[in-house]
């Protein structure tokens, strides 16, 4: 065992730089992917023109709240300017806050608060409209609640005298303290009004795919060493080829596991993401064995790279993580059985595939033993 580890050290010593690069690549891919995904999301906001016919407090509040969303950038413009830009498709749509907005809002009249323009190329018109309507509903809801309370107050002729403003302020306070009010008026798709981040990517998910791919790449040593001219020497050595291979797989596994724990630390620091250690360990062992079995079957380095890339892409698609048709688990349950990453992606221990790989390793070992006996 010690001897085999030393021989591996001799070989790895010559390529430690490239090995380190490969080993760290899944982390870099995950971090890189997440930060690009964020910038793309930041850059990708729908330009919307806002025309304020009245410059009331409520009108400005609406404008501000629309701008708070990462989905939309609202520009305050004159009506003419806005329509000109809409015609030139510089704006997706234009919303006009009508004269009397604040009064209508406070009297609970929800009609004719807004007027909108859109073109045949206003792809985001509907979601933006819904978002603005939901913000207004939130506001009218609040005012309605305030009015109800005031009415109650007058009815019960209490000596306390609340003004609408005080009640709205109170309601805002409650909204911040409790999620209740906010939940009711959440704009669909913009899940958190106070923390406007679009879709949240899980670094572990990106990492899992990268890790599977890169592990197969790293395991090309199996192919290279099987083909190496030195392979003919194994029958004349104390340590037999299958043992040598098995211990080396173990060495790689341990090195990769250590890096995985470092990864867990990095993801915690960067994204406050925690992970179940057993889920990570079982995943790593499974991926190493799977990579080993795969390259043992393929026997050609180039084909193994191609196969790894295609397979990873297929897994990304059937996991439904990147393509829009649905979340994890939305695709039929049976197909997940064929996805070695599924258990890890759902935060579970990789049991089935690990068992499958261990059986595969046992078969491989027995066959190799026979071949070299």
């Amino acid at each position: 065992m010690k001897e085999i580890i030393y021989t591996r050290f001799l070989l790895l010593k010559k390529q430690w730089l490239s090995l380190i690069c490969w080993i760290l690549l899944p982390i870099l891919i995950a971090i890189g992917f997440l930060s690009t995904a964020e910038t793309v999301q930041d850059d990708f906001s729908v330009p919307v023109g806002m025309v304020l016919e009245e410059e009331s407090e409520s009108a400005f509040a609406l404008l501000e709240e629309i701008n708070d969303s990462s989905l939309v950038s609202a520009f305050q413009l004159s009506e003419r300017e806005a329509i000109r830009k809409l015609e030139q498709h510089e704006l997706d749509s234009v919303f006009i806050i009508r004269q009397g907005y604040q009064d209508n809002l406070q009297s609970g009249n929800r009609r004719n608060l807004l007027e909108s323009y859109y073109s045949d190329r206003s792809f985001a018109y509907n979601p933006v409209k819904e978002m603005i309507v939901s913000i207004i509903q939130q506001e009218t809801g609040r005012i309605k609640a305030a009015n109800t309370i005031i009415n109650l107050e007058t009815q019960l002729s209490s000596d306390q005298n609340w003004t609408i403003e005080e009640i709205i302020a109170k309601s805002r306070e409650i909204q911040i303290e409790e999620d209740l009010l906010q939940n009711q008026f959440r704009y669909h798709g913009d899940s958190d009004l106070t923390y406007n981040s679009g879709v949240q990517w899980d670094p572990w998910m990106v990492w899992a795919f990268a890790s599977l791919l890169i592990t197969i790449f790293i395991f090309d040593w199996v192919i290279k060493e099987r083909k190496a001219s030195v392979a003919v020497r194994f029958p004349f050595m104390k340590i037999k080829y299958p043992t040598y291979m098995l211990v080396n797989v173990l060495v790689y596994m341990i090195v990769l596991l250590i890096i995985d724990l470092v990864t867990a630390g990095i993801f915690y620091l960067l994204y406050q993401e925690t992970i179940d250690i057993l889920s990570l360990v079982s995943f790593r062992i499974m991926v190493c064995l799977l990579a080993f079995l795969l390259v043992s079957i393929i026997r050609n380095a180039y084909f193994s790279y191609v196969a790894a890339i295609i397979w990873t892409l297929v897994l990304i698609v059937i996991s439904g993580t990147v393509l829009p048709f649905g979340d994890l688990g939305n695709i039929g349950g049976w197909i997940n059985l064929f996805n070695p990453l599924y258990r890890f992606l759902t935060g579970d221990w990789t049991i089935g595939w690990l068992g499958f790989c261990i059986i595969g390793m046992a078969i491989w070992y027995v066959r190799e033993e026979r071949k070299y006996a």
């Binding site: 085999i4 030195v230 020497r233 029958p235 040598y244």
Partner: protein, 223 residues
């Protein structure tokens, strides 16, 4: 020491080795000659246990090739026709690598001595920078790490200059005479065969080598 009886080998009904029988004694150097494709490498691989004969019996000392394969392998030093070393490692690292996996533990000094005995002195040099002759020497040195008593060498001197060839030859002679090792090796160089070998085995249909060696008054066994 090595006893071969009625050895046959065919690939897909094509007979390569046809009823070979011979004895080889301790400390003997035996040359194996024949044209390309005659079956020299095949015979060496069978004697090295890495290929099974179609029929026939082989004994190494008292040990039977069919029953005691594992123990026989410990005694065999096989030098493959294609150089089997790690190109990216140095001479030292190559020796250490195979020593670690070997039956016998050797110190760094002992490993270095094997190399120096055949004038392979570029100990810290990566193999990829070595000349062909140096690589051949290392190819041989690695096979000697576990002190085998039977050395099987497949064209150990092919494609190298006369000086290295002489050095390897002298080394083999010393191994046979001083250390009582049995050596079987193949070569296409008849001068070398005549100089080094006690006896010669020729195989193949072509009687060219047989006639050549008999003229030169060598003891020849032909199959």
């Amino acid at each position: 020491m090595l006893k071969v009886e009625g050895l046959n080998k065919s690939f897909h009904k094509k007979t390569i080795l046809d009823n070979l029988s011979f004895n080889i004694n301790h400390g003997e150097i035996v040359g194996l000659v024949g044209e390309n494709g005659a079956g020299k490498s095949t015979l060496l691989q069978i004697l090295a246990t890495t290929m099974k004969p179609t029929s026939g019996e082989i004994l190494l000392g008292q040990r039977n090739y069919q029953k005691d394969k594992a123990k026989i392998r410990k005694q065999i030093g096989f030098v493959p026709q294609d150089i089997a070393v790690w190109e990216q490692l140095t001479v030292e690292e190559n020796m250490t690598f195979f020593e670690k996996l070997s039956w016998i533990k050797k110190s760094n000094a002992q490993l270095k001595e094997i190399c120096q005995d055949m004038n392979l002195d570029r100990w810290k040099e990566p193999v990829k920078n070595l000349s062909g002759g140096m690589k051949r020497k290392l190819n041989l040195a690695i096979s000697l790490i576990h002190d085998p008593s039977l050395l099987l060498l497949d064209e150990p001197t092919v494609g190298i200059d006369l000086k290295s060839r002489k050095e390897i030859g002298a080394y083999l002679r010393k191994q046979a005479t001083d250390h009582n090792k049995t050596i079987i090796y193949t070569s296409h160089d008849m001068d070398e065969i005549q100089e080094l070998c006690d006896r010669v085995i020729t195989i193949g249909e072509d009687s060219f080598y047989k006639n050549l060696l008999q003229e030169a008054d060598k003891e020849v066994l032909s199959f």
